[in-house]
């Protein structure tokens, strides 16, 4: 499982880490705050106790109007230490061990942090004025009392640590609950992905149906994936089915042709025949065989044209020929067949244009279109060829005066083995590959071929091809540049 990336794990870890980081930050803030609050409370209690000590300083009731510390009123905490002096340095009372403290100027109370025998103490130094017998006419005797009072600060830190511990435990519990919740929620949230994967897994070469689950389609993040999958599969299925249909049709065509050849020969060998019968039978068999051969040849041509798209971008650049020559050659080739049907084949206009097609393929293109036109023309009609050129494009149109083409046929006419009219036998329809070959030739060089109905009836085949620049050597330099 190493190297695998789990979105669930990432999400959960990310959330938990963020949560942990914020918890740590919170604890730090809380610790500081707690320490501050505790210290203030601590200081307040220091001040209160110190004031209490001041309050415990009593008139000693002696002649010198001295003061004394009434031990009855002294209540201090455990481990606390104090010392009370008057202004002459006379010790009024003390408890615990006190370090030497730098006395601050009288007035403001001062806090000192001192280590006493390894324990951290916080001391408060407080100066207070105490007046003995303030009712006397001389205003009484004034004593400045200095109180030093301190307790260990360990208690403050203990409180702070307690607070930290509380928050830490709460954080751990929170993290645990969050993790569990996250795992459940994320699993639930990712359910559409699993559904989508399950649906996608069911696709096999025999069953191409794919309906993205409704939940996946409703999920904003998954929608593009689900739709893309659907579209891609639909495209694949279409091309797969096209391939399968082609294979089926090709098999059907070949089997029929083979069946004819085989039955011709078997009929001939059913019994002994005269030489004339054998000669006739062999001639017929040879015709049948020629048809089989031409079917195979056309299939191979189509396969060659369709395969070439992958790996010949370098070789094809150098091939080019004159489309005008190809048209003239194919017209002279078809003339005999056209004369048989009393059809006139006219080149109405022709211009010089070079197209990036092998001369044999260009001839194949023109002759297939012409043959198709002549086959669909009534006797005594005309087939007209027009060719126009601009800088970059060549248009070739072949117009017949036949019955035209139905909308249904227009959609499929370029598909291999498609026969527009099912009542048309193979004899008049050829192998059904001619126009497919034309389309393959055109599409291979980025051209198009389409068939429409003329305004005055008849079908018009329009071929659009990229033209190569004319002129001495410019065509060659262009093709060299293309490399």
């Amino acid at each position: 499982m190493t190297g695998n990336i789990s979105i669930t794990r990432r999400l959960i870890v990310t959330v938990l880490v963020l949560e942990l980081l914020s918890a740590i930050a919170l604890i730090v803030v809380v610790a500081f705050h707690e320490r501050h609050v505790q210290l203030r409370a601590f200081d307040a209690s220091l001040v209160a106790t110190a004031e209490m000590l001041v309050g415990a300083v009593q008139d000693a009731e002696d002649e010198a109007d001295n003061v004394m510390l009434d031990p009855q009123e002294v209540q201090i905490g455990k481990d606390a230490a104090f010392r009370v002096e008057d202004e002459r340095g006379r010790l009024l009372g003390s408890e615990g061990e006190l370090p030497r403290l730098e006395m601050s100027a009288p007035g403001a109370p001062a806090f000192r942090n001192v280590d006493v025998r390894g324990r951290a103490y916080r001391f408060l130094v407080l100066h207070r004025l105490r007046i003995v017998d303030p009712g006397n006419p001389d205003g009484g005797v004034r004593h400045t009392i200095t109180v030093v009072y301190g307790t260990p600060v360990g208690h403050v830190w203990h409180e702070v640590l307690e607070a930290i511990r509380f928050y830490a435990i709460a954080t751990v519990i929170l993290l645990g609950v969050t993790a569990a919740l996250m795992i459940w929620l994320v699993r639930k949230g990712l359910a559409p992905i699993y559904e989508l994967a399950y649906e996608a897994e069911r696709i096999s070469s025999s069953d191409w149906r794919f309906d993205a689950p409704a939940r996946a389609k409703k999920t904003v993040e998954l929608q593009p994936l689900a739709l893309a999958l659907e579209a891609a599969l639909a495209r694949l299925q279409r091309s797969f089915e096209q391939q399968r249909r082609f294979t089926n049709d090709a098999a059907h065509e070949l089997k029929t042709d083979v069946a004819i050849v085989k039955s011709s020969l078997q009929l001939l060998s059913m019994r002994k025949r005269t030489i004339e019968e054998y000669i006739r039978g062999l001639t017929l068999s040879l015709d049948d065989f020629t048809r089989l051969e031409s079917t195979v040849q056309k299939m191979l041509t189509l396969a060659r044209l369709e395969q070439r798209t992958d790996n010949d971008s370098s070789g094809a650049a150098l091939r080019s020929c004159s489309l005008r020559d190809a048209i003239e050659d194919s017209v002279s080739q078809i003339r005999a067949f056209a004369e048989l049907k009393v059809i006139e084949v006219q080149i109405e206009s022709a211009a010089e244009a070079r197209v990036p097609i092998d001369s044999r393929d260009a001839f194949l293109l023109c002759s297939n279109i012409l043959l198709n036109a002549v086959q669909h023309s009534p006797d005594g009609s005309t087939v007209a060829i027009t060719m126009t050129v601009n800088e970059r494009t060549v248009w070739l149109t072949v117009k017949d005066q036949g019955e035209g083409i139905s909308d249904q046929d227009r959609l499929h006419i370029f598909e291999p083995f498609y026969r527009g009219d099912p009542s048309r036998s193979r004899k008049s329809g050829g192998t059904g590959l001619g126009l497919s070959i034309c389309r393959a030739i055109c599409e291979h060089v980025g051209g198009t071929i389409e068939i429409t109905n003329g305004t005055s009836g008849g079908a018009i085949v329009t071929v659009t091809l990229p033209a190569e620049a004319l002129g001495d050597g410019s065509g060659l330099s262009a093709s060299l540049k293309a490399q």
């Binding site: 089926n248 078997q266 017929l284 036998s425």
Partner: protein
Amino acid sequence: MRVLLIEDEQRLAENIVAALRETGLAVDHAAEGEAGSHLAEQGVYDAIVLDLMLPGKSGQRVLQDLRQKKLHTPVLILTAQEGKESVVNLLNAGADDYLGKPFDLGELLARIKALIRRAKGIATPILVASDLELNTVQQTVRRRGQSLDLSPTEYRILEYLIHRPRAVVSQQELLEHLYDFEWEHHSNVIEAHISNLRRKLNAAGTEPLIETLRHRGYRLREPGATQ
């Protein structure tokens, strides 16, 4: 016996028709589904050879319509389509046999003959009626071990009669089943052939095999019926 071939592939049809005629069957050919369906529904055929991919009306439909009209003519399907599924569908739709293209012409003929035989309730290619023995493969006839020399038409009449034992076969029925549309035929042609056939069969000086029932037709006499 008369066979109908429904096949749109002209050259293939020519070959099958020629082969069937050479084996002594009368053959009609339809190159298109509608016409084929129409002919098949006449009910005069002893077997039908049907291509599946037909213009006009598919072979499947032709078969369905034929069976719907309660015609039990045996049908052999010729198909270039792949797949066991379509074969199963076809047999379930009422076809009796099928042959994939490209097929062996000899096999096609043998299957057609077997279909005709079975449809008439006969299992072997050698038919026997009392002391008469007819070999449908070699197209030879023997009576009491003696080989008889019959013309093709005489042979076909005898073959048809022997396929329909005990039944009265009318002249019309013989005409329908022995001649296809390419033959010029009149009912007295049958009469002439029957009388020749009778003469040849009786040459051995035995009791007549073929009975004539006035205005009704002919019947092959049963063995023992003469006693």
